[in-house]
Structures are given as structure tokens and as C-alpha cells.
């Protein structure tokens, strides 16, 4: 068979279909994936191509694979929806503690960038990062 890969290569097309099955819930979290052999039959693709497709899903964290056992869908790390952040920058003066850490005088100008993480609109984490003003992003 020739090897024309118009647009998307086969392994990506197969990966997309498998991804669909997982994200749609057809293969629930924690359940085993079909074996490589079964997939070669279903998609009429060589084992190498199937393995590449599986590798894509593994890199994306959708499945895990164990030697001799097989692949299984992962329990999604974020079943709760909308864990997003917003960021905000402002200038602050170094207090005694920060001044000591940075090795500068008290009152030196710092940049504080704050990001807030929410889980279902509830704030669960606030991160503040302090840098000297001269630092390149």
C-alpha cells in the first residue's frame, strides 16, 4: 500500500478517534484500552502506526501504559471544571524580609505579579511572584 499522508498522517487520525472515545466517555476513566493487536485489526494499520497513535495520547496524559499489561485511560486530574487563572502586576516596596532575600535595601521597588486559581469559581490558590524591576520578564 502506498503511503500518502494528505493533511494529517494516519497515526494522528487514529489518535484523534481514540481521543474522542475517551473524552466522550465511551472508554471511561480507569478502564483498559484495546490491545495494540486489536487496534491493528480495527484500523487496518501496522503495529508501529498504532503505537505512535497511542504515544500521542500518552504524551497528552490521557492514558498510561505498562509493559506486558496494556494501556488504560487515566482518571482525569481535574474532574472539577474551570481551573483557570488571572494575572495582575503591580509595583511594591520591599519589606524587611523581601529586602533581605533579594539582598537590597528596604523600600526597593519590586514587581509583584499575582495569579489566582479558581475551582468552580471558588478561589483555592493565590500565587505571588516577586522580582526585581531590572529583571527581563
Amino acid at each position: 500500500m502506498p503511503t500518502p499522508h494528505y493533511g494529517q498522517p494516519r497515526y494522528r487520525v487514529i489518535a484523534a478517534q481514540l481521543r474522542n472515545r475517551i473524552e466522550s466517555g465511551a472508554i471511561p476513566p480507569g478502564t483498559p484500552m484495546p490491545t495494540e493487536n486489536a487496534l491493528t485489526v480495527e484500523f487496518r494499520a501496522s503495529r508501529g502506526t498504532i503505537r505512535r497513535a497511542i504515544a500521542v495520547l500518552r504524551e497528552d496524559g490521557l492514558i498510561g501504559t505498562q509493559h506486558g499489561r496494556g494501556s488504560h485511560t487515566n482518571a482525569m486530574p481535574n474532574p472539577k471544571q474551570t481551573t483557570l487563572n488571572v494575572e495582575e502586576k503591580r509595583g511594591v516596596s520591599a519589606n524587611a524580609e523581601l529586602a533581605s532575600l533579594f539582598g537590597v535595601e528596604i523600600g526597593t521597588a519590586l514587581i509583584e505579579s499575582q495569579s489566582v486559581t479558581r475551582e468552580d469559581s471558588r478561589v483555592i490558590k493565590v500565587a505571588r511572584i516577586y522580582r526585581l524591576q531590572d529583571a527581563e520578564v
Copy 2:
């Protein structure tokens, strides 16, 4: 030829040797890597094995590859050495601002975890992450 991969598979051994060449400066940043064909000759390995070794280096960010052109070593993003962190946790009381963000009363106990990033022993970044006490890690 048989395919015994005692300990490390061939593609990892080859990747390690190439990595050495890059990190030692034998192949300076920004210069082209040997072609896949040249590497198959040098290491007496199949092209597939060579390609896997190259993929390892690419995933590690040491090289870049372009279709039809070849691979080239990357300019290291951090020529400065020792960008490391230390972490430290302590309990704090929510001030007005944090209390407002978390939607709790002023004075509520929070956990502050602080990490300090240094570049050549100089502090360049201080990050503070605040969470509620009930949060799971």
C-alpha cells in the same frame, strides 16, 4: 542481528552519546547535527533507531528539527548555572486583601509556601503561594 536490550535500549545509548557531544561543546549551540544517514553509518544502527535517539534529544529541548533541512543544536536558554529553588512553608493569617480573595474572614489561617529561585547564588525571584488549610496539598 538479534535485539537484546540489556539495561538500556540502543536508542537511549546513542542519545546519551550525542547528548554528551552537545553538552561538552563538541557540537556548539546553533550548529547542524549530523544527518540521520551519517548517524546510521557511524552507529551501525537502523534509521528508525537513530530517529528515536534524536527524538529523545528533541524532547529534552537540546536540538530542533525541520523537515527537509535537518536537526541543529539549540542555544541553551539558561547559560547561567544553578537556577535552583528551596521551599519553605509557614502558617499566616489572612489580611484584608487575601481574605477578600478567598472569601473568608480576616485572620483566617492560611498556609504560605515560599520558593526562592537563584541564578548564580543571586536571588532573582521569590514566589509565595497561599492556600486554605483544608486544601489537599
